[in-house]
Amino acid sequence: MSAIKYTFQIEKDDFSRAGEASSSIKKILMQVGSEPSLTRRVAIATYEAEMNIVIHSDGGTISVMIDPKCVMVLAKDNGPGIENIELAMKEGYSTATDRIREMGFGAGMGLSNMKKCSDEFSIESKIGEGTTIMMNMCVKEGE
């Protein structure tokens, strides 16, 4: 089966470049000819993941594995890790600082949006080590 993998480096606190990875991923999916609503879901999910890495982490990577039917996204950061995942998943919950909120980010919707976009979603986190999010999104029947 043909599949292709891309990995993007995401820098901590680099707001001027934030969104570049997800935008590149979207372009790739359009060139692949992926179904439009799948492309959009992947774009939103990777954008949220990218913003989370920029805002909350010490930097990380986003990888996508694209095959004809599904897109697997792996977002990995280098820490600091999430203390209470259950709480972090709640809509509206955010640990973002006031400075970040003033910029219009940190509304506490990132993780729940990612989950909403994916068919499979898993998150693992270790304090001091980092967080790994795995998302799988597939073409839906009838699309």
Partner: protein
């Protein structure tokens, strides 16, 4: 399936010197330079006219009609874009301009007010209230934007309001009226649109969302400008039957459509490259709290069209001046009811589904596409990434794309060639040294 692609934008080959100006501004990467001449990739071109605007040699042009077309019909009606009012000296009145057009041999003359009024009424009093789609409604009045969404943002197609353009609605109403009045068949009546842009000229021949246009020909403002000037001194004896209002007149300048809706939660964006950025944000769900998006391909909206004469900023000021003396836009309840009926019956509605067109993909078969992506990545590693355009493609990425699609087996990367030449030379020099 769509018919063959008709485009208003064309190339005058003898004028093209193969410079890369148009390559760089094309928002859909629809231009390549082949054998020293610009070529337009038909399926990608959205007729925005950016290439016409930028071409230093005036090699990019528009296919439009001329006044000879009047001979084909027994009865003729001119419909002028309201941006035409921004093209002349401030002391020239709307009445004078319309009379000048009439004097070219038309039986009747209108502007697009009627259509604009109906659209504003329908969106503000009907469509916004029954909106079901997530996110803002998007205007359908710019055909270039419609085609852009179709090929680059197909997932946003449901957000586009399913109403025809002001020119099309006006044309339908006045053509049917004229047929009743004269007893002529619709085919014997010619409706000619005075267009500010290529996108509208294209959408008459190759409409999107409707089966056929009621407009029979499009004349470019640029082409007819001198003729209008000449006729301006004629006695304005024709009583013009247009009720242009403050708000409908401003439809042709940036933000005018959104403002005419009398609502606050809107965002108006003009010029195609900015529109692309905002649509990207919208796709990511970043435009919360916006109910209506006005997107226009040209800077300052239609008054900045590629086929107008006046600088768009000056035109805006002139339009603003004309608007001062006009009465405000109002509706009676009966009018709104009538518009809703027109909409529900399909008279002013986009009755054909606008299908996404995935023209950006490398292959129709996704598996093959993915293989080509892999190959493209390998090729890209060997390209300089400076996007110089000398190979004829707008970017190194587009060059790689053309190669894997099998659409380019004639051009070379000049940078790579020079590099390898230099390396060879260095190597040879090195060898020489050892020998000596």
């Amino acid at each position: 399936m769509e018919k063959e692609y008709f485009h208003s934008v064309i190339l005058k080959e003898d004028r093209c010197i193969g410079c890369t100006s148009c390559l760089k501004v094309c928002p859909t990467e629809a231009i390549r330079i082949i054998d020293g001449k610009a070529r337009i990739i038909d399926e990608r071109c959205i007729d925005c006219g950016e290439c016409i605007r930028i071409c230093p040699n005036h090699a990019k042009s528009a296919v439009t009609d001329n006044l000879n077309v009047l001979d084909k019909y027994k009865y003729t009606i001119a419909i002028a874009t309201m941006s035409i009012y921004g093209q002349f000296q401030p002391n020239i009145s709307i009445n004078q301009i319309l009379n000048s057009i009439k004097a070219m041999g038309f039986n009747e003359v209108y502007d697009t007010t009627l259509g604009a009024k109906i659209i504003s009424g329908l969106i503000s009093r009907y469509l916004l209230l029954k909106k079901k789609v997530e996110g803002p409604l998007i205007n359908s009045s710019c055909p270039a934007i419609l085609r852009l969404i179709q090929i680059r943002f197909p997932d946003l197609l449901p957000n586009v309001v399913d109403i025809e353009t002001p020119m099309e609605i006006t044309a339908r109403i006045v053509k049917i009226d004229a047929a009743k009045k004269t007893g002529l068949d619709l085919k014997e009546i010619g409706v000619i649109f005075f267009t500010p842009c290529t996108a509208r000229a294209t959408s008459i021949k190759n409409p999107l969302g409707i089966k056929n246009s009621y407009i029979d020909a499009a004349i470019s403002i640029k082409d007819i400008y001198g003729e209008i000037l000449k006729n301006l001194s004629v006695n304005p004896s024709y009583s013009v039957n247009v009720e242009t209002t403050k708000e409908t007149l401003k439809w042709v300048s940036a933000g005018g459509q959104a403002k005419s809706l009398g609502m606050e939660k809107y965002l108006a964006v003009d010029s195609i490259h900015e529109v692309i950025k905002v649509l990207e944000d919208l796709e990511l769900g970043k435009l919360e709290g916006v109910d209506f998006l006005e997107l226009m391909a040209c800077r300052e909206s239609c008054i900045g069209g590629p086929l107008v004469i006046e600088n768009s900023f000056i035109a805006r000021a002139k339009i603003g001046n004309h608007a001062k003396s006009l009465s405000p836009l109002t509706y009676t309840d009966e009018e709104i009811d009538q518009y809703i009926k027109m909409y529900e019956e399909g008279f002013v509605r986009l009755t054909e589904t606008i299908e996404p067109r995935l023209v950006m993909s490398l292959d129709k078969d996704i598996s093959k596409s993915i293989q080509k992506m892999e190959l493209m990545r390998e090729i890209l590693k060997n390209l300089p990434g400076i996007d110089c355009g000398v190979c004829g493609a707008p970017t190194c990425r587009a060059f790689a794309e053309d190669i894997v699609k099998g659409e380019n087996n004639h051009s070379l990367c000049i940078v790579k060639t020079i590099e390898s030449f230099k390396n060879k030379n260095l190597k040879r020099k090195g060898e020489n040294k050892i020998e000596s």
